[in-house]
Amino acid sequence: MSDLTVPVLEVADLAVSFDNSNGGPRIQAVNGVHMTLFPQQTLAVVGESGCGKSVTAMSTMQLIPRPPGRFDRGSILFEGRDICTLSEDEMLSVRGGKIAMIFQEPMTSLNPVYTIGDQLMEAIFLHQKVGPDEARRIALQAMKDVGIKKPEERLAMYPHQFSGGMRQRVMIAMALACRPKVLLADEPTTALDVTIQAQILELLRELQRDRDMGIMLITHNLGVVAENADVVCVMYAGRVVEYANVFELFDEPLHPYTRGLFRSIPMLRDQKHRLVTIRDVTNDAAEFRKIPGVVPWWPDMPAGTKPDLASGRDEHVLVEVRPNRWVGCWRTPELQSRTHRRPSLDFRRGDR
């Protein structure tokens, strides 16, 4: 068993931008993101569409097409090496072998013209030096591991003969066949119905425990976060706005945006005509004065609340406002002089 206290993946100050096809300024998709993933840990990356969750994951796989994409700064450390500096050839052995990824659309993520077996074994041949018989055995085992019945028959079938949930299981089997250290799950259950969602997540948790795997779970479903995440990283507009373990975050969200997120969840027993929007919360100046000494970062501050900034460096800084609680704040001159610990939580839900 590997050392669970050593992070498997460290994203530090990552910034990725894209060409603007309309000729305007470059689009800063990710702007100084930090996160740390430990073995056996599920790190949920939460945020609305376009906040940079997927770009962070795709950067980790080096699947951002360049151009139009560009790495502006930062690093992604995996096994002591910065992924951003690896050559394409070196990346080929990492991709799918040590870091695997599953996607949101199980219906279209499998190649329709090859059998499940072909596609599974393609991944195995790429990363393991095995013969056809051994590859088949590994593929069968991978299918069994994800709970597919009669794997021998299923291997010879085509994707269209599978249901959505089954296809996502195949995707997981394919991703995990080479026993990766890190699994990037980009909204793996969004396209599935709720019962299947639960099964898939349960399956991922089991496999994670067996293999000491770190999972980066990208989602915008807070229910999924509450039930599966160990650590939560809330993102907005390419920045991390809050980083905490799941229990503390749900007990007491610190950033106004996070509070807005939770309060916008409709409650069955509430007899309100109109739901609370995130904007209702972030437009309230009082929300930004709740943490002593710092002002939470927000691109669209209510009038009169934006503090004076330190000149020169990035306006945003991730501050550990309480032990093991990080909040994205404005970089005021006081914060400028302090050193800030990067977010890193060696925490799993079983620890509590």
Binding site: S93, S109, N111, L126
Partner: protein, 508 residues
Amino acid sequence: MLSYLLRRLAFMVPTILGITLMVFMLLALAPGGIGAGLAVSGGQMSDTSKVAQMQAYLEDRYGLNDPVIVQYVRWLGRISPVKFGERDLRTPSGERVSPPRAIEDPPLARAFPLPAVPEVVDAPPQGEQLTLEFKKLQREAEGTRREYIGSVRQFRDALADWARAQGPETASRLDAKGSARVSDFEGVSFDPASAGYAKLAEAAATARTKWIAARTAQARAMAAFRAGPYPKSGIPLVPGLVSLDTPDLGVAFSKNRPVADLILTALPVTLLINLIAFPISYLIAVPTGVLASVRRGGWFDVASGFLFLGLYSVPTVLAGVFAIGFLANKQYLGWFPVSGLHDSAAASMTFLPFTDAAGEWHRGYLVDTLWHVALPVLCLVYASFAVLSKQTRASMLDNFNADYVRTAKAKGVPRKDVVLRHVFRNSLLPLITMFVGIFPAMLAGSVVIERIFTVPGMGSLILEAIDLRDREIILANTFMVACVNLLALLLADILYAAADPRVSFNRA
């Protein structure tokens, strides 16, 4: 799968019937009707009564006087593989011999009584004698029939003359062109004292003499036919009633040769040119399209797109003329022959090129043929690059953004394999459909190109047939192209099912 195939094949029958009926009707409705080509060939003769007789003979032979729908059904009966009635004979050389046709009675039998027909007594010759004499008997039956048809025509002319001599009341029985339709004179009494009667009676007597001769010859030929000088053609289903046989494409009016022969001479030429041209266009266009899509927006993409679209914009007619004018003309480059498929000395050439003892190089039949088809092939392929490569490129680009390509990349598949194994394999599907769509065009031949380079292929054949209004060739060609088209569509569906596992015939 099998039931699907059978169902598809069964559905082809009504489709082919519809297509051929339409073409037949178009020909029939065209000015001059189906027999226009015959009228043209008949016009070369000077003697008008001979022309009329010739026309009568041809009308009789091809049944051109029957209603169009009857002619169509008769044509269908010929090309249908299911035959009704007496089976044809097949000579050792593969020629098909139909039973001699029955002779109709001469017109106006009540006014001009028929003479007694002598019973045929002589039995058909036996054994080898039969084979030897069969051809002669056939020719005799054909010749006497022809004379008889001619005499009936003369009788009708005499009838018209007589009617005009009787005054306006009788003359009103004539049709608009002033010729006599025999059925309109059925109830008329012919007074032997009337003006012009002698001539009419003479014509009637001639017709009757010829009739007896024709009937006798027909009966003898029939007896010989029944005696079976050659084996019967086809496979019997119900003896004497229904049998299976190969379709009979008929005899071309304009060339007096079986259409099947004409097609068999022209088809290999067209196939030769196309079987060289199509692989070339695919081998150049598809890889170009793939490369262009991989480096989308790069110099190769732009340059190939520009070049191919430019070529596509050059009309084949112009390109063909330029090719002949500059590449083939001896005053310019003179690299290629101007026309034809072989050198005049081709028959005496060896197949492969060789160098003789004197060190002189002989190009041989193979190189000679390739040399001759080079320009037609060039003109056939240059325009196809644009369509094929753009189609490949678009189809590749579609698939580059597909989710399963992202999955493949995430598995760590190298870029080359992503392109070839995942993107290209899926981009093949529309190319299959295109390939099979082009296939029937191969058989029809490129009319323009064959015309420009005087290549005796299918295109030249059909063009000539249309010029001469040769029904048999046009119909046979339409029929063949229709069949090939339908079979190609079926083949496309089968190939598609083989290439795309999502398509299956087993589950209806």
